[in-house]
């Protein structure tokens, strides 16, 4: 008996080889037509926009980004490096009652997720490579640092109230920010488990179109990428959009210029 890999590959080769090219008109109407039997790569027409008409970081691009972010219920802030620390400190929520009990059912089962004594002030987690100046003004806030080498556990991440990260790139037309796991953006779990995500995006990181972002990210495609467009949401109930499900229920995007 041949192994599955050999058999599947030979089935595919057989399927491609045996296709009757005179079989008829039905099928794809793509630019390459139905001449799919050829082994040579067909030409892919790429007439679509590979970049927008506006430069990265331009006012026009920022305006579109803000419009899209607001449309998807993200909260947008504009600031300067000087005012950033104070803004961040303000955005970290106080430990709220809702963090203890979600809805009316307590999901914290003590045997699995030990609850640390709750503190009245908020706690924030930051990736270890974050610009230390950003978090310098968080006087009343407990700041915890996470790295690949010294990661917080899931339970510990669940205890903090917010996460502050940088970003790799933002796409204006779709209202998207992309994290690529580098030291200022952190492990994927860090930007996922806390209920509030504060993401600091430099205005020169904002491109207009998706292709611009993909080509930039393509320089390091092996990095774990998280594309974020607004807070988590669902439309599973009568197609009505509800913001805030399993991912952070609040997304703050801070535009830094």
């Amino acid at each position: 008996m041949t192994d599955a890999r050999t058999e599947i590959l030979s089935r595919i080769r057989g399927a491609l080889g045996s296709a009757d090219s005179s079989a008829g008109a039905a099928g794809t109407t793509g630019a390459a037509g139905t001449a799919g039997v050829t082994r040579a790569p067909s030409v892919v027409p790429r007439e679509y926009r590979s970049a927008g008409e506006h430069a990265p970081g331009s006012d026009a691009v920022l305006e579109v980004l803000i419009d899209r972010l607001v449309d998807y219920k993200a909260e947008v802030h504009r600031t300067t490096p000087k005012d950033l620390p104070r803004l961040l400190a303000r955005l970290i929520p106080q430990r709220s009652a809702e963090r203890q009990v979600v809805g009316s059912s307590d999901y914290r089962s003590p045997d699995v997720l030990p609850t640390t004594p709750s503190t009245p002030r908020g706690a924030v987690v930051v990736p270890h490579g974050i610009d230390q100046a950003w978090v310098s003004a968080m006087g009343g806030v407990e700041v915890r640092t996470d790295s690949r080498e010294a990661p917080l556990s899931a339970a510990e991440l669940d205890e903090v109230d917010a996460v502050v990260t940088a970003a790799r790139v933002a796409v204006a037309e779709t209202g998207t920010i992309v994290l690529d796991g580098e030291a200022d953006q952190g492990r994927r779990a860090v930007s996922l488990v806390p209920d509030v995500h504060v993401c600091v995006v430099r205005t020169d990181q904002v491109v207009q179109t998706v292709p611009e972002a993909v080509r930039l990210l393509g320089a390091d495609p092996e990095r774990p990428l998280t594309w974020i467009s607004g807070p988590s949401a669902t439309s599973d109930i009568e197609l009505e959009r509800v913001e805030g499900v399993h991912g952070p229920r609040t997304l703050h995007v801070v535009l830094l210029s």
Partner: protein
């Protein structure tokens, strides 16, 4: 309604009957074969049409999403160019599938992933069950995935004592209600908010007793229910929307964050993916990440898209398994006329615009792939005789919205022609049979004047394969017949005119 769709004699299918119709709390049950269950299409469709609640739920949901999609597609100036590119990329993928799969395997392996190959559902389920058991756990979290629905993975795991917890809100609803998905994107589209609340209250042990039917509250109840599972699960199982051959990158597109939870928190990730999900290069993502969200949820971009390449030390699952699934796909590939069905990126836009789907819902198709794409893909995957190709008015709306330009109506006509030819005793009257088969959607379309007017496309479809007013060559197996005889071209008048004329003659 006995001549509903005027199809060939209904064939019975294995699995539950049509009586467990939506509208009751319990769903249709989990069938033996996820690609072939329930009553035949005409019977199931008839039952569905009698279910007013179902029709109201569907009508509301599909019209909402149609409007959203139209708006966000309308704001993209190069939409048609993106569709052309998407279609051509997929055609290229099919032509080079063996080498691209090998390239993907090399790249995933080089980054610490393990690639498995599965010829059919049983083999895929075996691989996954063995992997889970070796991790010493009896519960796995799952991201919504059509491939694992198709192979009945949850049921296979259950037989081995492993509980697979669906974490997508709609999949959770379907799972709790012992139901089947009725839509590719929104599997519980046949349920309204009140039914969902009732399902949660009865079947979800930790649902708050004072739960109302406000969608936000329902979503929060699901959040609370699943959170502990996410944070403690050892193994997650996912599908994939795309796999990039030249980098080994996998992508999952989602909304709720349940995907991120599953793809990030557990130690082990197992991804089951059909072999057709490939794209050649990382840059090709720029096409599909524009086409998919706008076509599917009607958003400019879905809230979350995760991409990972093998294993990233210190970040996310430290063990990654990719199961490449055939399960009939090579059969579809061998059929040049139907091959384009493999281009599908499962956006579900064709369901939302389909007048037949809107009326009968997903369950009537008796397959995890309902709607127009299901009508062509399901019979091709199973290789069985099927009445699904008749579940269409051939109005062409599905083709117009398809982001990768799959010409579903033409493939439907082709499949119908084969079906008729297969059941015809002799070739003597094949021309008439082919013609009438292609027209057989008429009685359904008649039920709705506005829809009916749109069905004007049919004669054009047949004219497309004719020259000089004579059809010289029908697609196989019609070609067996047209080889020796010419067939008159269908009249140039519209379908409606043609029908009206027929009526007048009576």
């Amino acid at each position: 309604m006995s001549t509903f769709l005027g199809m060939p004699a209904a064939r019975d299918r294995r699995g539950p009957g049509p009586d467990a119709a939506p509208g009751t709390l319990s769903g249709v049950g989990r069938p033996e074969d996820p690609l072939h269950w329930g009553a035949s299409f005409p019977d199931a469709a008839k039952a569905a049409l009698d279910n007013g609640q179902l029709r109201r739920n569907l009508g509301k949901a599909t019209s909402t999403i149609r409007t959203k999609r139209a708006r966000v597609v309308g704001e993209v100036p190069d939409w048609e160019a993106l569709r052309d590119a998407g279609s051509a990329v997929k055609t290229d993928v099919m032509a080079r599938l063996p080498e691209l799969l090998e390239e993907l395997e090399r790249n995933v392996t080089a980054r610490g992933g393990v690639v498995h190959w599965a010829r059919d559902a049983a083999e895929a389920n075996r691989i996954v069950a063995d992997l889970v058991r070796a991790r010493d756990t009896d519960e796995v979290v799952k991201v919504k995935s059509m491939a694992t629905q198709e192979i009945g993975l949850n049921e296979a795991l259950a037989e081995e004592g492993i509980a697979a917890v669906e974490t997508d809100l709609a999949e959770l609803i379907v799972q709790l209600a012992d139901d089947m998905p009725s839509h590719i994107l929104v599997p519980a589209i046949h349920r309204n908010r009140t039914e969902i609340r009732d399902i949660f209250l009865e079947r979800m042990a930790d649902a708050p007793p004072d739960l109302t039917d406000v969608p936000r509250e329902l979503a929060m109840a699901a959040r609370a229910h699943l959170r502990r599972k996410f944070l403690s699960a050892k193994v997650a199982i996912s599908g994939a929307n795309f796999a990039v051959a030249d980098t080994g990158t996998l992508a999952v597109v989602e909304s709720e964050g349940n995907g991120r939870m599953c793809l990030t928190m557990p130690e082990t990730l197992i991804t089951v993916m059909g072999i057709e999900k490939l794209i050649p290069t990382f840059d090709d993502l720029e096409v599909f990440l524009q086409l998919l969200p706008r076509s599917s949820t009607g958003e400019r971009m879905n809230p979350y898209t995760s991409m990972w390449t093998g294993v990233t030390p210190g970040d996310g699952p430290q063990e990654f398994h990719l199961v490449l699934l055939d399960n009939g796909r090579t059969k579809v590939l061998a059929d040049e006329a139907g091959r384009a069905a493999l281009h599908c990126i499962r956006c579900s836009a064709c369901l939302n615009v389909c007048p037949v789907y809107e009326r009968v819902g997903g369950h009537a198709y008796g397959s995890v792939y309902p709607g127009p794409i299901g009508a062509i893909l399901t019979p091709q995957l199973t290789g069985e005789e099927s009445d699904l190709p008749y579940a269409s008015t051939l109005c062409g709306a599905c083709y117009e919205v398809c982001p990768v330009k799959i010409d579903i109506p033409s493939i439907l006509v082709e499949l119908r022609a084969r079906e008729v030819s297969m059941t015809a005793g002799s070739a003597g009257d094949t021309a008439d049979r082919v013609w009438s088969a292609a027209m057989k959607a008429a009685s359904f379309a008649m039920a709705d004047g506005a829809r009916f007017r749109r069905a004007a496309r049919v004669p054009r479809l047949l004219r497309a394969i004719s020259r000089n007013g004579v059809i010289r060559k029908l697609p196989f197996p019609g070609s067996l017949w047209t080889r020796s005889r010419d067939l008159m071209e269908p009249p140039k008048q519209t379908f409606r005119d043609w029908w009206d004329g027929r009526e007048d003659q009576r």
